[in-house]
């Protein structure tokens, strides 16, 4: 009866008999002693051990339950004991000697590229992490060149460090060095699973209870659910955190599920549990790493120096040859840089794509509760689900999975996976196209617009305030984030705050309020029907005009850009105020190829711009003013300041707002452009005016200086600004 232990031998977990392990330890110790004075000692022993590991694995694969004494002895017989080795003392010293003056052209044979190359950090030839030598090995260029590039980048720009660190982390090491140093691997734990064992696997890897990752994954969903519960049938809108993290957690789980292999064999299960990663083991490995750094850095310095002198010498001796070689390595470097650049651009594109899709996903999930108010049952609903899952979620999961697999170098039937993902995405595209087509059809036509008079009980008031807050009512807002115009969802009705207020100067001396109802539909008739179904009330109570808080949309009728525009005609000399609660600047609406800009048809030429919510205004002949006398339109206000300064405090009302009579229906952009042009013209005019004034002043001055003998000498001087101040 023999005791069996598990050791980690060069990245492989090996069950081995205790006695066999002792033999193995003794053997490696003897190798260490034998090669103690050898130049490449570490590398040689590493190679031998790695081969032994391979032989162990072959033995285990062929059915052995563990490595026995006989196995180890057989392997040692095949490898040979140190005393059996032919000591080639002379060649060792010779090779050490030649190394100093050796050429550095270590590029691989260009013909041999049959097997797939893979980027590794070279454990055997490193200064810090072996990144540079790994890259050099990969691209077949001189490692010194790569190192120098990284040093230049790090010193001059500081960003050589970042790719180095990323590569250090992401690129696997060419070898694990120590016997017994357990390398933990992330597996899914099939023995302790709820869904797929992802959480328990993570728990094992970090040495924590599996419930910690589980709770972390579930947290967004839990809060989601509790909120739902709290609000019952009359739930409020979900806030941003819940909306964005729930799909995030779900996707992370699915990605981990796809990426992490399941621990099936005993070996894998052992690798999964591994050794506890504690501070001590981390410290040990870091110390181990650092010990070699100084030595290796010195060596690299010497090497680089030797190469530099050698290169200069060689250049003197044989310029042509060096030029040729230099040219080649320069070409390699350029090819490498181009490669890096292309990968960088590709990476950016992929990243942008994922971010865009993810935000789309967030918006889609955010809009989810209103889905039923938007989409018809049946096919449209199915297409919406298809779009969400296949068009948005699938590529995100696919790309991230692919990236992680690429980085972690997980080999598998990735072709099958690629086909599956692209197939699902094509389904997503189909769903998306159909959804878009179908929704577009539903929004195709607008309704016929007509004015509806809102009867005021007392149109002759001096002051009218538009509000949706009843005098004895307070409105609470509970969430810090919400999709603003949707409110108070319940089972059947959603309130959409698509209410806009316009102010127009009244021609009469009494207030007048007019309402336009707007909607869209697949036909003009249906749009008319939907518009007529909009229930929106406005009731006057003394100086208050109480508006409804929004437009109720029912599940049956769906949301088709229903909007209400309230136009208030304010007589000259009377005051008006629009409360924040009454209206919204931004309507919820789905714009698309169907939109023929009907919104602007309602606008008339003397509409007032620039007023703000919650501010009292008075209507004057030429527009709205605050009680303090400032014009409502901010831009015109600035213009007024210029004018004031222009005309030294005497406002000239005659033609200041001449451009205000735009009479255009062309929409906001056009009017802004036009305003800008007019503004330019205005400034030009005022500057010209200023110039004329200045010249007039100068003339006056000159007329005066004619009488003054002192300044008569030079008429040019009178143009100097100094003289402008003295008189």
């Amino acid at each position: 009866m023999k005791q069996v232990i598990n050791i980690n031998f060069h990245g492989r977990v090996v069950p081995i008999e205790v006695s066999a392990f002792d033999i193995l330890k003794e053997y490696t110790a003897s190798l260490n002693r034998f090669f103690a004075s050898e130049d490449g000692k570490e590398e040689i022993i590493n190679d031998i051990e790695s081969r032994i590991g391979e032989l162990f694995q072959e033995r285990l694969k062929s059915g052995a339950t563990c490595i026995t004494d006989e196995d180890v002895n057989a392997i040692i017989r095949s490898m040979g004991r140190p005393e059996d080795f032919d000591t080639v003392e002379s060649s060792a010293t010779e090779s050490a000697g030649t190394q100093q003056q050796a050429e550095t052209d270590t590029s691989a044979e260009p013909g041999i590229t049959v097997k797939a190359r893979r980027l590794y950090r070279d454990e055997n030839d490193k200064v810090f992490g072996g990144v540079c030598s790994g890259l050099a090995n990969y691209f077949g260029i001189d490692k010194v060149v790569v190192r120098i590039i990284f040093i230049i980048l790090a010193v001059s720009f500081g960003f050589g460090l970042i790719p180095y660190l990323i590569l250090w982390i992401a690129v696997p090491s060419s070898a694990t060095k120590e016997i017994g140093a357990v390398r933990k691997k992330l597996y899914r734990d099939s023995d302790d699973k709820i869904v797929a064992g992802v959480c328990s696997g993570i728990g094992n890897y970090f040495g924590i209870n599996a419930w910690i990752p589980r709770v972390l994954f579930l947290l967004p969903f839990l809060s989601f659910a509790t909120r739902w519960g709290n609000w019952g049938a009359n739930y409020d809108f979900f806030d941003f955190v819940q909306v964005s993290f729930s799909p995030g957690a779900l996707m992370a789980y699915i990605i981990l599920w796809l990426v992490i292999p399941e621990a099936l064999t005993t070996t894998e299960k052992l690798e999964m549990k591994g050794e506890k990663v504690d501070m001590n083991s981390i410290k040990n490995s870091v110390m181990e790493e650092l010990k070699g750094v100084q030595h290796r850095a010195e060596k690299f310095g010497k090497e680089a120096g030797a190469i530099a002198t050698e290169k200069t010498q060689a250049m003197g001796a044989d310029i042509g040859r060096v030029a040729k070689r230099g040219g080649r390595s320069l070409g390699d470097v350029i090819a490498f840089l181009v490669k890096v650049f292309v990968y960088f651009i590709l990476g950016c594109l992929v990243f942008a794509f994922v971010v865009a899709l993810f935000s789309l996903g967030v918006v889609a999930i955010g809009l989810f509760p209103v889905k039923d108010f938007l989409l018809k049952d049946g096919w449209q609903n199915i297409f919406a689900w298809g779009t969400l899952i296949f068009f948005i979620a699938v590529p995100i999961i696919g790309i991230i999975t692919w990236l992680i697999r690429k980085l972690a170098r997980i080999r598998s039937n990735s072709k099958l996976m690629g086909f599956t993902f692209s197939g699902l995405w094509i389904i997503g595209w189909v769903c998306f196209t159909f959804l878009l087509a179908s929704v577009t059809r539903d929004f195709k036509s607008g309704n016929n617009l007509y004015e509806e008079e809102i009867v005021l009980s007392n149109p002759a008031v001096d002051y009218l305030e538009l509000t949706s807050v009843r005098p004895n009512q307070t409105v609470y807002r509970s969430n810090w984030f919400r999709l603003e115009p949707f409110e108070n969802l319940d089972e059947d009705t959603a309130i959409v705050r698509n209410v806009r207020v316009q102010i127009i100067q009244s021609k009469t001396d009494s207030f007048r309020v007019v309402m336009h109802r707007m909607a869209r539909g697949n036909t003009r008739r249906y749009a008319d029907t939907l518009a007529s179904l909009i229930q929106f009330n406005a009731v006057q109570q003394d100086s208050l005009l109480l508006l409804d808080r929004g437009i109720p949309i029912t599940r049956k009728d769906k949301f088709r850009n229903q909007r209400v525009i309230i136009t208030v005609f304010v007589p000259v000399g009377k005051r008006v105020k629009v409360d924040r609660s009454a209206a919204n600047w931004h309507n919820v609406q789905f714009d698309g190829p169907w939109d023929d800009d009907r919104d602007w048809e309602v606008e008339t030429k003397d509409i007032q711009h620039g007023w703000d919510f919650g501010v009292e205004y008075i209507m004057k002949k030429d527009g709205l003013y605050t009680i303090g006398g400032q014009p409502a339109n901010q831009w015109e206000k600035e213009q007024k300041i210029i004018d004031d300064w222009d005309n030294s405090g005497t406002p000239d009302d005659t033609d200041r707002y001449r451009y205000d009579n735009r009479g255009d229906n062309r929409g906001a952009t056009d009017s802004v452009l036009m305003k800008q042009q007019l503004e330019k013209q205005r400034v030009k005019d005022s500057l010209r005016k200023e110039k004329e004034e200045a010249e007039a002043q100068l003339n006056r001055l000159e007329a005066r200086t004619d009488r003054s003998p002192i300044l008569q000498t030079s008429s040019i001087m009178s143009y100097s600004p100094m003289l402008m101040i003295y008189p």
């Binding site: 060069h10 391979e54 080639v88 691989a108 797939a116």
Partner: protein, 118 residues
């Protein structure tokens, strides 16, 4: 003078040449090299091969790259550098000279004179 020592000295002399000629035929993994040499009835210990490969690599006659293996960590595959190829041709010439000389000296009848240019 003991026979084993002399025999091992003789083998040692040609070992590097043999290894280089195996690698010259294509990129090789150390255990492949061993297998080929054993197939040719020239048995050496793997423990001897690795130090030799490392020394040849340090002398820049060989280079290696990591190749993914179906199981476990990647493997080192060795190939000749330009310098190694040049080194090999020199060794080959020497070997041919030597082989011809030995053949000429050891054969009882001098059938054909050794070709010095070969």
């Amino acid at each position: 003078m003991n026979i084993e020592n002399t025999a091992s000295q003789m083998r040692k002399g040609v070992l590097e040449f043999c290894i280089l000629s195996v690698i010259r035929q294509g990129e090789a993994y150390p255990s492949d090299i061993i297998d080929k040499m054993r197939a040719a009835n020239l048995s050496i210990f793997e423990g001897t091969l690795y130090p030799l490969l490392t020394r040849l690599k340090n002398a820049e006659l060989l280079t290696y790259r990591w190749v993914e293996s179906s199981s476990g960590p990647p493997r080192k595959y060795f190939s000749l550098t330009e310098k190694g190829a040049a080194f090999y041709t020199e060794l080959e010439a020497t070997w041919n000279e030597l082989a011809n000389a030995v053949a000429a000296l050891t054969s009882p009848i001098q059938a054909s004179p050794p070709d010095p240019v070969a």
